[in-house]
């Protein structure tokens, strides 16, 4: 065979499954058999196409530590047929994987700068590999801030880890919920509102943003108001994907293909198209 077929999944095993939230599970899987053995064998911000055999294939971001090359970690919300089938896999079961695909969070370019990580809902999962790297290489960055918003206190993803990071003196972690219930004493409101209160130097800040599209639009507006340069803001976009290799046309967003040019984009490249409805 002259060359490999990018549409062929590799068969790997589930090493571990953990429940995060009622509908959200984390799978630790073997890396694809053609992946490099050394760490890192993916970049924070990238994703895989995961196949539940006989059901289908969907894009899922890496949510694990890029320094750990022996297991690939994915955090999946069961929303439909494929994602539900994936979250039902147990340790030892097989699934198909193609990847890694897509662009990465610009962590090297952010060295020496303040870093503002803004996550909404499950958007925290694709940002977690970036957070691991920021913390592992903490001395290379200025102030590091994580702003995380979710619907209710019961929907807080990676809660124990957030609490652990919050105890560190070199990271500012702020969590807000749309609706407070029970004994919640933290912030209430949407995550863009936290930006005005966060401590960073806008002139030398890199912002990494992932969440629902409306949340990202408001976050973008708040970051602009705060004075962060458009070219220093990065967003992760989501579109329907069937191939992840630029061949199926499904993931178009304006002049770009999300699987090829994203999913992580510098925001000035998207700014003309984000306000246009149904693009």
């Amino acid at each position: 065979m002259p060359m490999s077929d990018p549409m062929l999944p590799q068969v790997v095993r589930v090493l571990r499954r953990r429940r995060e939230l009622p509908e959200v599970w984390t799978l630790e899987i073997e890396p694809a058999s053609d992946a490099a053995a050394d760490a890192p064998n993916f970049e924070p911000g990238q994703f895989n196409m995961l196949t539940a055999f006989g059901v289908g294939e969907v894009p899922i971001s890496y949510s694990g530590d890029p320094q750990r090359s022996q297991r690939w970690v994915h955090t999946i919300r069961a929303v439909g047929a494929v994602s539900t089938a994936l979250t039902r896999l147990r340790a030892g079961d097989v699934l198909g994987v193609r990847g890694p695909f897509g662009s990465a969070w610009p962590l090297a370019a952010a060295e020496g700068r303040d870093v503002l990580v803004v996550a909404g809902g499950l958007g925290l999962a694709p940002l977690r590999p970036a957070i691991y790297r920021l913390l592992a290489q903490r001395r290379r960055y200025g102030r590091v801030t994580l702003l995380y918003g979710t619907r209710s206190p019961d929907d807080i993803l990676f809660r124990r880890e957030l609490e652990r990071w919050r105890r560190r003196l070199d990271v500012d972690v702020q969590v807000t919920v749309d609706h407070a219930v029970g004994d919640w004493h933290g912030h209430v409101g949407v995550v863009p509102a936290l930006i005005a209160r966060a401590d960073f130097d806008p002139a030398r800040t890199s912002a990494l943003v992932c969440g629902p599209e409306v949340m990202m639009r408001f976050t973008l507006a708040a970051l602009r108001t705060a004075g962060v340069a458009e070219t220093a803001i990065h967003l992760s976009m989501e579109r329907n994907m069937k191939c992840a290799v630029g061949l199926c046309g499904h993931c178009q967003f304006g002049p770009t293909l999300v699987c090829r040019d994203g999913a992580v984009y510098r925001s000035d490249l998207l700014a003309p198209y984000l306000p246009i409805r149904e693009l």
Binding site: D5, P6, V79, L247, C248, D268, I276, L279
Partner: protein, 391 residues
């Protein structure tokens, strides 16, 4: 396809009988020979056993939303314009198994789908279709990832192009620079001459493979008079074309007018039927579907043509990103004429007119561009030259 080593292979003249020898020779060499033939009242592409299967003496009448075969007053073999089929159905079949999997013990084995053994030979590829193949080459072969099914089929294909002697009723290839003359990556290119009792083809050789085959056929060298006659035919076709698109500025025009009222007007007519995408020779979008037997012992993934006009196409979070026909038509047309350039370095339109002919309500892409150009309202909010925001 490599250009012939000997750069000046002079044109030859092939008779209609010689044309049968061409088909025979291709079959002898193991090619699956495909070309135009009549089925269900249209010119379609199918396996050709002999020259008799070609639509001899058949012409067509095409206009927006209209297609009808006609009887010519000569015996031309290629006296019609393109029909609803294009070569993409052979290079990228409408349904295609990608792989299957089988449970083995507590594991699963993935088997790539078998690949076709027989190389393809296309007879009667028009200039616009050569361009369409070149455009799909960029999509499927020109990026970081190569589409294996397309590559396997495309690599060994032998292309017999034909310059157009008659413009179709909806063609605008002249303005797109893709026709009516067959130019580009072909093995042989023919111009059919049917005139005053004469009936033959002036043949241009485009590759070593083409030269090898020509050497096996009964032919004579073309005279300069033959060549001039061929040129005149193509020039007359170009001059008789009724439609056009502006050569420059369409991309900027459309991207600056993403909220133009014309999109609402076209959406009132468009049925979102996806015909235009199915007949378009460059539209390449596909979807995949997995299946399994009841016991889940065996599963398979199949790829099939998809269209940006379906609601599932842009499905995300329980709904379509493009819920309205307005958004879907805008996506189709701006992709063809504008964002294709960003994505793949060329326009996605070759001016073949198929989308105009086969639209049941007769929507005309050239007319839509003209309507926006006539009353542009810079609403897109974009500065495309350098990608910077401009609120």
């Amino acid at each position: 396809m490599n250009p012939p080593a000997d750069a000046d292979v002079s044109p030859a003249v092939l008779t209609v009988d010689g044309f049968q020898c061409l088909i025979d020779e291709l079959q002898r060499r193991g090619y699956r020979v495909i070309g135009p033939t009549v089925a269900d009242g249209a010119i379609v592409y199918d396996d050709l056993a002999s020259v008799d299967a070609l639509p001899r003496g058949v012409g067509d009448a095409q206009d927006a939303g209209r297609y009808r075969l006609t009887r010519r007053d000569d015996e031309a073999l290629f006296g019609y314009a393109v029909g609803p089929h294009s070569w993409k159905r052979f290079l990228n079949p409408p349904r295609l198994k990608l792989w299957s999997s089988r449970r083995e013990g507590d594991g699963v084995r993935v088997e790539p789908a078998p690949e076709p053994r027989q190389p393809l030979a296309f007879i009667g590829v028009r200039g616009c279709e050569l361009r369409a193949i070149a455009i799909q080459d960029r999509v499927f072969l020109g990026g970081r990832y190569v589409d294996r099914p397309y590559d396997v089929r495309r690599r060994g294909a032998f292309i017999v192009a034909v310059s157009c002697g008659t413009a179709g009723g909806t063609c605008f290839c002249t303005s797109m620079g893709s026709g009516p003359r067959a130019q580009g990556d072909f093995d042989l290119a023919l111009t059919e001459i049917v005139d005053a009792g004469e009936h033959h083809f002036v043949v241009e050789v485009g590759s070593d493979a083409g030269r090898e085959i020509m050497a096996q056929l009964p032919s004579r060298d073309a005279t300069s008079a033959d060549c001039r006659q061929a040129e005149r035919i193509v020039a007359a076709t170009a001059a008789s074309m009724g439609r056009s698109l502006p050569a420059e500025g369409v991309r900027e025009l459309l991207l600056d007018n993403l909220d133009h009222p014309r999109w609402d007007q076209v959406a009132e007519r468009c049925l979102s039927c996806a015909n235009c995408t199915m007949v378009c020779p460059t539209c390449f979008c596909s979807s995949v579907e997995d299946s399994s037997d009841l016991a889940s012992e065996e599963t398979a993934r199949e790829r099939r043509w998809d269209s940006c006009f379906t609601t599932d196409f842009a499905y995300l979070h329980g709904g379509s990103v493009r819920a309205t026909t307005r958004a879907r038509y805008r996506q189709w047309m701006t992709h063809k004429l504008a964002t294709w350039i960003d994505q793949f370095g060329s326009s996605g339109c070759v001016g073949c007119g198929r989308c105009i002919t086969w639209c049941p309500v007769g929507i005309d892409i050239t007319e839509e561009v003209r309507a926006i150009a006539a009353a542009p309202a810079r609403t897109g909010g974009s500065d495309h030259a350098d990608g910077h925001a401009q609120d």
